[in-house]
């Protein structure tokens, strides 16, 4: 998996790729700062996605972890799975 990030605005951020014990490949992006109300755009390129009858078979798992900047702070862990339909 290659990560080509498009970020607006675009401060530097760290990108890490890996594979967990179950064989899931992942890329992790660590922005250093998120301004209030900002919209972030992340572009990824998935290389060599498996196909069945010419159709990509992808299960995209998103996990967004964030914490607000309040006095106490509150963590959010947003998880979503997007399954591309098989034809």
């Amino acid at each position: 998996m290659a990560v080509g990030s498009g970020l607006n605005p675009g401060p530097k951020m760290q990108v890490a790729e890996g594979e967990d014990s179950s064989g899931l490949k992942y890329a992790t992006v660590y922005p250093t700062f998120v301004a209030a109300g900002a919209t972030w755009v992340f572009d990824f390129v998935v290389l060599n996605a498996p196909t069945v009858n010419g159709t990509a078979q992808l299960s995209i798992m998103l996990d967004i972890q964030a914490s607000n900047t309040g006095f106490i702070g509150h963590g959010y862990d947003l998880q979503a799975t997007v399954q591309l339909p098989a034809i």
């Binding site: 998996m1 498009g6 064989g23 899931l24 490949k25 992942y26 890329a27 992790t28 992006v29 660590y30 922005p31 700062f33 998120v34 301004a35 209030a36 109300g37 900002a38 919209t39 972030w40 755009v41 992340f42 572009d43 990824f44 390129v45 998935v46 060599n48 996605a49 498996p50 196909t51 010419g54 159709t55 990509a56 078979q57 992808l58 299960s59 995209i60 798992m61 998103l62 996990d63 967004i64 972890q65 964030a66 914490s67 607000n68 900047t69 309040g70 106490i72 509150h74 963590g75 959010y76 862990d77 947003l78 998880q79 979503a80 799975t81 997007v82 399954q83 591309l84 339909p85 098989a86």
Partner: protein, 143 residues
């Protein structure tokens, strides 16, 4: 000539007045009953002061407990999971995810047709509602 000063039961000379006053200064200022009343009054004031301190401590304890509970509740992380959002097409796919009060996510991409493998584009757009920091975004592909 010296003028005599009358004190109930006592006739004395004015020059002795100072000695008389000094002598009275050593006398007890109040009777035992009066003194007891003073002590009782002080005791009531002390009791009121103690009750006031106790009430203040209780109010402070309640406030501290409330703040601690609020802080604990606030500090707990929130995990929101959304599974199987609707995706119509694998070639040009896209879906919108709404995490109420937290963030809106949009997933867009395309996977050109190929025989055995292909290269897919994936774009994740994240719009946060509250101010956040330390954002970490992970995109995982399962083959």
């Amino acid at each position: 000539m010296h003028e005599l000063v009358y004190d109930p039961g006592v006739w004395r000379f004015p020059q002795d007045e100072r000695i008389y006053q000094m002598r009275n200064a050593y006398r007890r200022p109040a009777s035992e009953k009066q003194l007891g009343w003073v002590f009782n009054l002080n005791s009531k004031r002390g009791a009121l002061r103690g009750r006031w301190r106790l009430a203040t401590a209780l109010v402070a304890a309640v406030l501290a407990t409330g703040l601690a509970v609020a802080a604990y509740a606030q500090s707990q992380d929130t995990t929101i999971t959304m599974t199987s959002p609707k995706v119509e097409n694998a070639l040009q796919y896209g879906t919108d995810l709404n995490f109420p009060g937290v963030a809106d996510l949009s997933v867009r991409g395309s996977c050109p047709p190929a025989n055995y493998s292909t290269t897919c584009d994936l774009m994740v757009i994240v719009a946060f509602d509250p101010p956040v920091s330390n954002l970490a975004t992970k995109s995982m592909r399962k083959s």
